[in-house]
């Protein structure tokens, strides 16, 4: 990897050096972008860096004297990009799902203007990313890991250049080679979570453990479920001792019947307001993700959360670079920046989700690190189940029942 081409320098030092070089020719660079397009300009810069550093990147295309002729060589799949001052980056993520000042710090460090857009639910996110088949105009997004195989198959994501993300070494060994994306070739794990429910012990005393609590008629109008068909069907499946990834129509009908019993008791289905509505005491119990609960406790420290005893969902999301990314280098910088121990720990401390970042562990607040609900021991994690990608025909069976439930 080209990291080795920079002996004696940490990645950041090398990068700063390269950026300094780039700044030296920034005006020229921008002019070239305008004249020849980014690919040609990048090649020019790459040559400049190669000359300045004295060691051309091994993975880079053979530098040729004319920028114009190498434009085709740099067409996607992009060869090793060299850190350059792409001055914009388009990121698409959940609301309140990153450190408070991560974006500002990144902008300060790299002088890259970040457009940071949020989506209200996963469906909107996936729809947008798939709208043009290459990422909907965003450079980086944060899908659940279950999407990665189909994104790779559809050519929606581009390969991650590990040489540009030296902080990958910070990942825990368990996350170096995930099933959904061997070797993290197309994705980099971001945070992971469990699903459960939170409640207000002032209204509901005692320790709750079962999914059945969300079906308790005495709490009519005081409960909410996630507006997420997979999560709702999973909750029902665990109560019935079925797999949350079932595609058996009979089993799905059983789950639907159970969810239909629950619906009249619910105040609403939401994937965006579960935190504010618990804090404002609109409901006293909410189906939610582990980090939601942490954010609730900022206002109401007494709130409790449980990973139900019948079993539950664990999941993680990943950072991906879209196939249509216009700022692939800035995107790599962004991912590397988010794997920085301090940045990663600051995010975890702010949003309450644990990441796969071992180097960040010492910097994570104890109350998160030592809470078995947020950082369950491995034997608990092993019991939790990941939601699997559903083929369209199977998903249609879920959607149909979900609509019948909601209608």
């Amino acid at each position: 990897m080209s990291e080795r081409n920079l002996p004696g320098l940490s990645f950041n030092e090398a990068l700063d050096q390269k950026l300094a070089q780039a700044n030296w020719s920034r005006r020229e660079f921008l002019g070239r972008v305008a004249a020849f397009g980014a690919a040609a300009a990048l090649t020019q810069l790459l040559i400049a860096c190669g000359q300045a550093g004295g060691s051309p990147s091994a993975a880079a295309p053979t530098p040729t004297p004319q920028g114009t002729t190498t434009a085709e060589a740099t067409a996607p799949p992009a060869p090793t990009p060299v850190p350059t001052p792409e001055d914009k980056l388009f990121v698409y993520n959940w609301d309140a799902y990153i450190g408070e000042d991560t974006v500002a710090k990144f902008q300060d460090k790299y002088n890259i203007e970040v457009t940071y857009d949020n989506f209200p639910d996963e469906a909107t996110q996936i729809g947008k990313l798939q709208s043009d088949g290459k990422g909907g105009g965003y450079d980086v997004s944060y899908p659940a890991s279950t999407w990665v195989p189909s994104f790779i198959q559809d050519g929606l994501v581009q390969k991650i250049d590990h040489s540009l993300i030296p902080n990958l070494k910070n990942l825990n060994a368990l996350w170096q080679n995930p099933d959904y994306d061997p070797g993290n070739a197309y994705s980099v794990p971001n945070f992971w979570w469990t699903t459960g429910y939170a409640w207000d012990p002032r209204d509901i005393p005692g320790d709750l453990t079962s999914w059945a609590e969300l079906w308790d008629p005495s709490r009519k109008n005081k409960m909410s479920m996630l507006d997420d068909l997979r999560e709702c069907f999973a909750a029902g499946a665990f109560r019935l001792n079925l797999s949350p990834n079932t595609t058996d129509l009979g089993e799905l009908d059983q789950i639907l019947a159970l969810l239909e019993q629950q619906k009249p008791l619910l105040r609403f289905y939401t994937a965006t307001d579960q935190i504010t509505d618990m804090v404002n005491q609109v409901v006293e119990m909410a189906h939610c993700w582990s980090g939601d609960w942490v954010q609730m406790t900022y206002d109401k420290p007494r709130f409790k959360y449980v990973i139900p005893s019948e079993g539950s969902i664990k999941g993680n999301d990943v950072m991906i670079i879209t196939a249509g990314a216009e700022h692939p280098i800035a995107a790599h910088l962004w991912i590397d920046f988010n794997l920085d121990p301090e940045i990663s720990a600051a995010s975890t401390n702010y949003i309450g989700y644990m990441g796969p970042n071992d180097a960040a562990l010492p910097l994570i607040d104890d109350y998160i690190k030592t809470d078995p609900r947020l950082n369950p021991p491995q034997e608990v994690l092993n019991e939790l189940i990941e939601l699997k990608y559903l083929a369209p025909a199977d998903l249609a069976q879920y959607t149909d029942r979900w609509n019948k439930l909601q209608a």
């Binding site: 639910d121 469906a123 909107t124 996936i126 729809g127 798939q130 189909s150 198959q153 559809d154 109008n221 909410s224 479920m225 997420d228 068909l229 619906k263 009249p264 619910l266 105040r267 609403f268 289905y269 404002n280 005491q281 609109v282 083929a391 369209p392 025909a393 998903l395 249609a396 879920y398 959607t399 149909d400 979900w402 609509n403 019948k404 909601q406 209608a407």
Partner: protein, 307 residues
């Protein structure tokens, strides 16, 4: 200064001149003026509808892409599942209630502005449109703050001792209809204002002179003459209300799912664009039939009112 034409002279001269204008060039001028609008509709309305129509005949292949390999009407049959009727009826109920409330509230307001607004008319109309300066979503969220169990309204009712414990208003039919009425009221007031403002009040005066009571004059003169405005206000409220997605999803709850939410589920969670398109078309058909029926039943009155 002897040959200065009086306004009456101009009228007598220009009226025949207008008559003698070649019809063809008038028609040509009209088509030129209409062209941008037609083009706009064609590009941004008809083309997307056409794409939707084609997609609605297709299906999703195993890799999740839209395929038109075996076009058919299966998606339409699928969308006609009687299990979805409750959501459709609920949507119609919300839209009707919103329309009736909007006209009921909007008519007196429009009447008052037109009759008693005087030189403040424009200011008052701007005030009606003032909410548009803020995003509809934000205004709808503001209603959440007002309607919550521990919100402004319940707090007021509790403080005044009118109730002993909060009444759940948010996430019910009431909050949805209230939010939609709030949102669509300006669309009702504006056409109502136009028709009331155009009304020649000497007609009402004449009715009164002929011994009509105030109520009688309103029922037999004002109301029929402003019926076009009422119909316009009704359509401008009912049609968007029937397809409204934002208000029910923000102010509604588990029991207030509308047809728009089902369509959204199919597109977003289900990622089945062909089926979603078919569903959307059926909804459009329902709206169109409803509109035509409404217009038909009101046509006599509208035409009677001289439109």
């Amino acid at each position: 200064m002897t040959s200065a034409a009086t306004p009456a002279d101009i009228d007598t001269i220009s009226a025949p001149a207008r008559e003698s204008l070649p019809r063809r060039s008038a028609a040509a001028a009209t088509s030129v003026l209409v062209l941008p609008g037609v083009l706009w509709l064609a590009v941004f309305f008809l083309v997307p509808i056409g794409i939707m129509a084609v997609i609605s005949l297709g299906a999703v292949d195993p890799s999740g892409h839209i395929t038109l390999a075996n076009p058919g009407l299966g998606n339409y049959a699928h969308a006609l599942d009687p299990d979805f009727i409750p959501a459709l009826l609920r949507s119609i109920y919300y839209a009707l209630a919103t329309t009736i409330l909007s006209i009921g509230i909007g008519y007196p307001v429009a009447y008052w502005i037109s009759r008693y607004g005087g030189r403040h008319k424009v200011l008052l109309l701007i005030l009606v449109m003032l909410p548009f300066w803020t995003s509809y979503l934000i205004r709808t969220y503001a209603w959440m703050v007002i309607l919550r169990d521990n919100g402004v309204l319940n707090g007021f009712l509790l403080d005044t001792g009118l109730i002993n414990e909060p009444i759940p208003i948010l996430n019910t039919d009431v909050s949805v209809i209230l939010g939609m009425t709030y949102g669509f009221l300006p669309y009702a007031i504006l056409p109502l204002f136009v028709s009331i403002d155009r009304l020649d009040f000497s007609m009402v005066q004449a009715a009164r002179d002929l011994y009509a009571s105030g109520r009688g004059a309103f029922r037999h003169v004002t109301l029929p003459l402003t019926m076009p405005g009422i119909v316009a206000a009704g359509l401008l409220t009912f049609i968007p209300a029937l397809g409204d997605f934002v208000t029910p999803s923000v102010l509604g709850g588990a029991q207030t799912t509308t047809i728009a939410k089902l369509v959204q589920n199919i597109f977003a969670a289900g990622r089945d664009w062909p089926y979603g398109s078919a569903f959307g078309f059926l909804l459009m058909g329902v709206t169109l039939i409803g509109t035509l029926l409404a217009l038909r039943s009101l046509r006599r009155e509208v035409i009677g009112a001289g439109v």
